[in-house]
């Protein structure tokens, strides 16, 4: 018990003192997960919109697949990306394995289905409400997809934040493709896993607190955006 209290104190000291090692890890984590979420959003939001408004063969199957992929285990994504990037793999010559870039790729793949599937749901619900009105005004499906993305923009912020939360919190994918190399590919979650097993609790606890704080803050932001918008735009 005493150990834990001491570790907590030390963790708070690390955070309060903006410990260089700790901030380095936090910054790298944010860089990787924000890049991943940007890539996944740029691809996933339009994908979700297109699936929401288009009718094509295999659409239902694609929706089921995307929904299923939301639950993709990070370690499996890590493994697949590892196989692609490893020396013998098809993308081996790029030499990306164990770099932050590989981690971005893995996290993008992990959260792309989340962003696509959730935005598809949001936009399709709106499409049901808007379809006749938009068609009457002469909107083609492409116009409609853009309009719906704009009109659901504040729900889509929540969708993107959900993707970010998932990326920032996962260990499995980044530890496999990043290799957890000190000072190079070590992020919050992988450091927590490693330091805990080594018994270095203060750093693990400090990072844990920051991670939880981050997730809470994001959800708080998402919630207040939605509330404010609901009041303002109806």
């Amino acid at each position: 018990m005493n150990d834990i209290v001491l570790a907590l104190g030390e963790a708070l000291r690390l955070i309060g003192g903006l410990d260089a090692k700790l901030t380095g890890i936090v910054v790298l984590s944010l860089e990787i997960s924000l890049s991943a979420v940007a890539i996944a959003a740029v691809l996933g939001l339009p994908l979700g919109a297109v699936i929401a408004v288009e009718r094509f063969a295999g659409r239902q199957a694609l929706i089921v697949l995307l929904n299923a992929l939301m639950g993709l285990p990070p370690v499996v994504v890590g493994l697949l990306v590892y196989l692609m990037l490893s020396r013998a793999g098809p993308l081996g010559p790029l030499g990306l394995l164990f770099t932050p870039t590989a981690m971005v790729v893995a996290q993008s793949i992990l959260i792309l289905p989340i962003i696509a599937a959730l935005s598809r749901q949001v936009i399709e619900d709106a499409w049901r409400e808007y379809e006749e009105q938009l068609r009457s005004l002469g909107a083609r499906r492409f116009d409609a997809a853009l309009t719906l993305m704009w009109d659901t923009r504040f729900s889509l912020v929540t969708v993107v934040l959900a993707g970010f939360g998932r990326a920032a919190a996962e260990v499995g994918a980044v530890i496999i493709v990043g290799g957890n190399i000190d000072g190079v590919t070590r992020v919050m979650t992988t450091t927590i896993a490693l330091e805990t097993s080594k018994g270095d609790l203060p750093l693990a606890l400090g990072l844990g607190m920051i991670l939880v704080g981050l997730v809470l803050a994001l959800n708080g932001i998402a919630h207040s955006i939605r509330e404010a918008v609901q009041r303002r735009y109806g």
């Binding site: 409400e129 006749e132 068609r135 009457s136 005004l137 002469g138 116009d143 735009y233």
Partner: protein
């Protein structure tokens, strides 16, 4: 683009026939009011004419219409208009941009429209927080801004109080005076008397009767129309 010609148009959903062999030719000019009880098929018939539904059988033809796709010079105001999550002005601009109105013209014309329907004071207010009557007027402005040759109005004053109803009816009169063909539905007999030039009476998906408004109310030819008029409440 008029006349609009329907030939034996039927429409079924899930095996249920909602519109049953309607044949009619609607010419430009007079205000046409589609009258009939709740569930008669007025809204569905209007959606068919507007091109939102495809008839199950029969044909709908506009004069000079292209092979596929309805002519763009028509607009519709729905029984429950959907407002986009943007300002009142933004809603009017949206339709104009889709219709390809030159950007320079849009803003001025949109503001004019809002002024004419009495919404100048809410130009920049989010459309979705406007009252029902204001939204209905905004929907009219949005449709009118397209300068359509034909304007479909589906129960444009359902749920509105008498003052708001009068305002909407005045606006409809102005749109008609501007040369737009008005085709509207209502189940309100008073409104039909005030606004119609000719009546299409629909009952259970069939076009039962068509007559100039005076003739229709003086002595409806069909038993269905007679009993519909007789059921009128005293207010």
């Amino acid at each position: 683009m008029l006349p609009l010609r329907l030939e034996n148009v039927s429409f079924a959903i899930g095996g249920r026939r909602i519109i049953d062999s309607v044949s009619v030719e609607i010419a430009g000019g007079p205000r046409t009011v589609i009258l009939g009880p709740n569930g008669a098929g007025k809204s569905v018939l209007m959606r068919l004419c507007h091109g939102l539904f495809e008839p199950t059988s029969g044909a709908i033809e506009w004069r000079g219409a292209g092979v596929n796709g309805r002519p763009r010079q028509q607009a519709m105001v729905f029984q429950r208009p959907v407002m986009l999550r943007r300002s009142a002005l933004g809603n009017v601009l949206y339709g104009m941009r889709l219709a390809g109105v030159a950007r320079g013209e849009c803003d001025l014309r949109a503001r004019d429209m809002l002024e004419v329907v009495g919404l100048a004071h809410v130009t920049d207010r989010p459309a979705r927080v406007l009252s029902g009557g204001e939204q209905q007027r905004l929907a009219l402005a949005r449709a009118w801004a397209l300068n359509p040759e034909v304007l479909f109005l589906d129960e444009p004053t359902a749920n509105l109080d008498p003052a708001a109803t009068r305002e909407i009816e005045t606006i409809i009169g102005a749109i008609h005076a501007g040369g737009t063909k008005i085709i509207m539905t209502t189940h309100n007999l008073g409104q039909a008397r005030r606004l119609a030039d000719e009546i299409l009476f629909i009952h259970e998906g069939r076009l039962v009767e068509r007559a100039p408004v005076g003739e229709f109310f003086a002595g409806p030819a069909s038993a269905e129309a007679r009993s519909f008029i007789k059921g009128e409440l005293p207010w």
